[in-house]
């Protein structure tokens, strides 16, 4: 069992850029962006400093809702964001390098975006 503290901080999608910038200035490293499709799209942005994991999280319930890309702050977030865009169908705008849904080139459209029983 891991004893490590794992902080998950719920934020609103509008605060994403401001909060991310604060972490960047605080010397945090972006570890991963994860997405879970369960009662809406739950986006988790995980950061690390001195082996402490801090996660910013929000849930998008409306399908049309757009999220800003954090690639203006962490340029290397572009791979995570392209992946989430392509596999989950989350609308992420202004990604530094946008592959326009051709990162993986899979035959199924947004495989993680569908709910069970959709196909």
């Amino acid at each position: 069992m891991e004893m490590e503290q794992q902080t998950v901080r719920m934020i609103s999608p509008q605060d994403l850029l401001a909060d991310t910038l604060r972490l960047k200035n605080g010397g945090y490293r972006l570890v991963a962006i994860s997405c879970t499709n369960k009662d809406g799209m739950e986006l988790s942005y995980s950061f690390d400093k001195n082996y402490e994991l801090l996660t910013l999280r929000f849930v998008l319930t409306e399908e049309e809702q757009e999220v800003e890309s954090i690639s203006v702050i962490y340029p290397y977030s572009f791979l995570y964001e392209n992946e989430i865009k392509e596999l989950f169908g989350v609308r992420i705008k202004d990604i530094a390098i946008d592959f326009e849904d051709s990162l993986y080139q899979i035959p199924v459209k947004t495989p993680f975006g569908r709910k069970e029983g959709d196909d």
């Binding site: 069992m1 891991e2 490590e4 794992q6 490293r29 972006l30 570890v31 991963a32 994860s34 997405c35 879970t36 499709n37 369960k38 988790s44 995980s46 082996y51 994991l53 996660t55 962490y74 340029p75 290397y76 572009f78 791979l79 995570y80 390098i97 051709s102 990162l103 993986y104 080139q105 899979i106 495989p111 993680f112 069970e116």
Partner: protein, 359 residues
Amino acid sequence: MGKRTVIPFGPQHPVLPEPIHLDLVLVDETVESAIPRIGYIHRGLEKLVEKKDFQQYTYVAERICGICSFMHGMGYCMAVESIFEADIPERAKFLRTIWAELSRLHSHLLWLGLMADAFGFESLFMQSWKLRELILDIFEETTGGRVIFSVCDIGGVRRDIDGATLNKIVNILTDMEKELREISHVFFNDHSVKLRTQGVGVLSKQAAFDLGAVGPMARASGIKLDMRCRGYAAYDRIKFKPIVETEGDSFARISVRIKELFQAISIIKQCVALIPEGDIKMKITGNPSGEHFTRLEQPRGEVVYYAKANGTKYLDRLRVRTPTFANVPALLETLKGCALADVPILILTIDPCISCTER
């Protein structure tokens, strides 16, 4: 200024055992930028958690990648155990640490061989892989498998290693150290190896941080980042220091990995000296509920497992962020401005594992 040309690199390329595709934008012989295209090995195995229950999924997790198979299984098990708040038996923790460090040895030796092959040093390739077979023999003796051995399970490990075998492993590794010194002498001192790697693909400490590099790639650029310092499994009882170099070039990356070979041997020896008697597995009943992020240090760097469970047999989500995925931006940066002929070496210096990356 010369003409701009785009050269497609891959997916099938002699230097790469795995398919990756890069569009290299060249001005004469110099790479100006590189655009990656991945997805040749994308299977979508994160989605399989909906079809295989959390016990069965251990087998899938081990097949995320055949090189760090054990570490993937271990990471997945640790994530699920953390959701159960289960503290597994001490002996299992030590056994996991031993197998994990043996995996590091086999992976780094494999990489050294491929690297030697990439700069055209065939005999060094053969020497490295010859040593690697000794590690695979240990795997086979202790688990029955050579590369994928399904020995990790939720709640502990499936097989014990008895005292006599542990001592035998220590003897094998002690003998191996001598041979390792010989090949590392070549890597460190050979004139042509230096010519091909020193000053090639330099990544500064700042750039490595700004691009989110992990593992030996980050450590070769002077960033002290090693997830083992978090003290998972038995690492909190082992004495070791992250190996850091400062030059940030391909030579430094070789150096970090070679020093980690000796470090892995030292860690295994400490484990054998400290391992307690006792159970190797605890019973875990019921279904998991909750979520957890697990991070560990694979041969290629930090890996992240995020598991979210809902109280049923099937997890809601399993997400794996592998080290190569994190190192791709750093690779693209080092490719800028390099000579076309150096591209294979630079791709190899991140120790790419495409199968992990694309899942």
